[in-house]
Symmetry: C2
Subunit: 331 residues, 2 copies
């Protein structure tokens, strides 16, 4: 059985069976001209769309269909997390080349797993034929109380800078796969399946801890520059404090590379980078100590005129150039 | 100047300048991790996503970038219209291959024109590099009062069946372009720029005239079969009553084809097909006579066991097989 035999509508029916709409806020799920939901009163609705394109964002010799689906969901969850929102509903827009129904099932199961972990429900989608390039484009809706939304623009000089989890792992994982390697599985897994940090994002928003927040998609230096630009500030990183995983340190040692290169410029970590006003630092540090949030202080926002610098392990201050991934510049 | 020079963030800044967020219900437009809106209280939110893929849904030798953009918006507006909703907000997800910034500007201007005509505002998006296939995927949000939403499933035996505008033109227009023709411009224009019927859809919903509604994307016979399936009914079309444009009749005469072939099976018209309970027929006919809605009665819904038939111009009843466009079966 292939897609030509079951057809587009056969595919929609298969999906409907796998994704029964359960939430009471979903008036109408898959199968009509549009989905219909009843948003929570008094809350703002957060919306993001992000796509994964074959040969650009993923390679099916590096990731399974399940992993591609999971990651497509994870990168969207990461955007909602960075606003302090709770993921709620999503729509899937697929461009299929010659995938089998089994492969598409696996893709959907990956998307569904990510959605389920974050409490988001599938409400609609579109499946198109694409001649040469397979793509998965998701639109995710989240909600947050109006006053708790966190943007990139709320950082102020003097705010401490924190990041969740560890940085640089995903870029190293991709490099290993591109070289045909299989060692350093934790790094490879970080590339294939990004962490979902929406609980952390929600907590930081709810407790009004984060003054500005962004998710790390392009790389720490590049994403921090967006906070700097939109908050009108500079930043000083404590390069000694960047959270590097043991695997990344071992991998860098083995390849003779500087692990900071991955940590500063490597994309795809999907951790949360956020600034914290001084008076909130104690509250956050307590949450970190209690294990509620895994985050580390990595520097501070400073006055704009001081630009973007890093204090290296030897104590020297050096200028940092945002060097993350830009789709068009680097391809 | 090309995309590699201005980069992804340069592109985002260009778009931000062209699309300043103006609505008071938009908390946060382009340029953060997610957009934030405040939905209207007491209304349901309608959501649809539809994409246009190069070489499948459009051919740049048949349509300009502006027309591709306009059509990408039109097909999404059509979905919201078919639910009886008012278009409000949209997100754009692009997969770009080697388009110039000027071409992308034209694409955005086409999207913007469609959005403006329907009162919808751009709130977010994503721009990705795509190796081989250029695609435009839009997610459109609309609103409707809870009790006015029209689905595909509300039709009952005895309801009259109506369609807006004319049918078959877009398929004939595409056929002309594929043969390299330039005559019959009205048909070509119908393929390049579908009509926006959201005002009609809204009126039919507000006055509770339509019991079921769908937009004609795949073709009349195919789209009607969705109403039949979801309403649990059959249908009898009066084939003599199908609204055929003068251009289509002349084109069919010239090529020796049956114009009903285009009208029944041709996709891409983006008209509204809807059923009307008997007691509402008079109200609708008055609206049609006053010019408020351009629609024509083309048959009726019947009991399911009578299936899908058409009364041809000679008065004979013949069985109709849904024969519209299915992405995977026909490619």
């Amino acid at each position: 059985m292939n897609l030509r035999q079951i057809g587009e509508f056969g595919l929609i029916r298969r999906i409907q069976k796998k994704f029964p709409a359960r939430s009471s806020s979903i008036f109408l799920g898959l199968g009509d001209d549009a989905a219909a939901i009843l948003p929570s009163p008094q809350k703002i609705l957060l919306l993001t769309t992000d796509s994964l394109v074959e040969e650009v964002h993923f390679d099916l010799s590096f990731s399974t269909f399940f992993q591609v689906g999971y990651k497509a969901m994870a990168v969207n969850i990461s955007d909602i997390a960075a606003m302090g929102g709770t993921p709620r509903f999503y729509l899937i827009s697929l461009g299929l080349t010659d995938q089998t129904p089994q492969e598409i099932d696996r893709l959907y199961r990956g998307i569904q797993k990510g959605g389920k972990e974050a409490g988001a429900a599938l409400i609609g989608g579109n499946t198109a034929h694409s001649k040469k390039t397979f793509f998965v484009s998701l639109t995710l809706l989240g909600e947050a109380p109006k006053k708790e939304m966190v943007t990139r623009g709320g950082g102020r000089p003097g705010d401490a800078l924190y990041v969740t989890g560890s940085v640089g792992d995903a870029a190293a994982g991709l490099e290993i796969l591109q070289k045909g390697g299989r060692a350093f599985q934790p790094l490879i897994r970080r590339y294939q399946a990004p962490p979902l940090r929406w609980r952390e994002g929600r907590l930081l928003a709810e407790r009004r801890i984060a003054s500005a927040m962004i998710d790390l998609s392009d790389g720490l230096s590049s994403d921090l520059s967006h906070i700097m630009e939109q908050s009108g500030v500079g930043a000083e990183l404590d390069l000694n404090a960047l959270p590097l995983s043991t695997s990344l340190k071992r991998y860098a040692l083995q390849t003779g590379n500087d692990p900071l290169k991955y940590a500063l410029n490597g994309g795809g970590d999907y951790e949360l980078l956020f600034s914290v006003p001084r008076k909130k630092v104690k509250v956050l540090d307590r949450l970190i100590q209690s294990g509620a949030v895994a985050a580390r202080r990595i520097g501070a926002l400073v006055h704009k005129k001081r630009g973007f610098t890093g204090r290296d392990p030897g104590g020297r201050i050096r200028k940092i150039e945002p060097g993350g991934y830009d789709h068009f510049r680097r391809n």
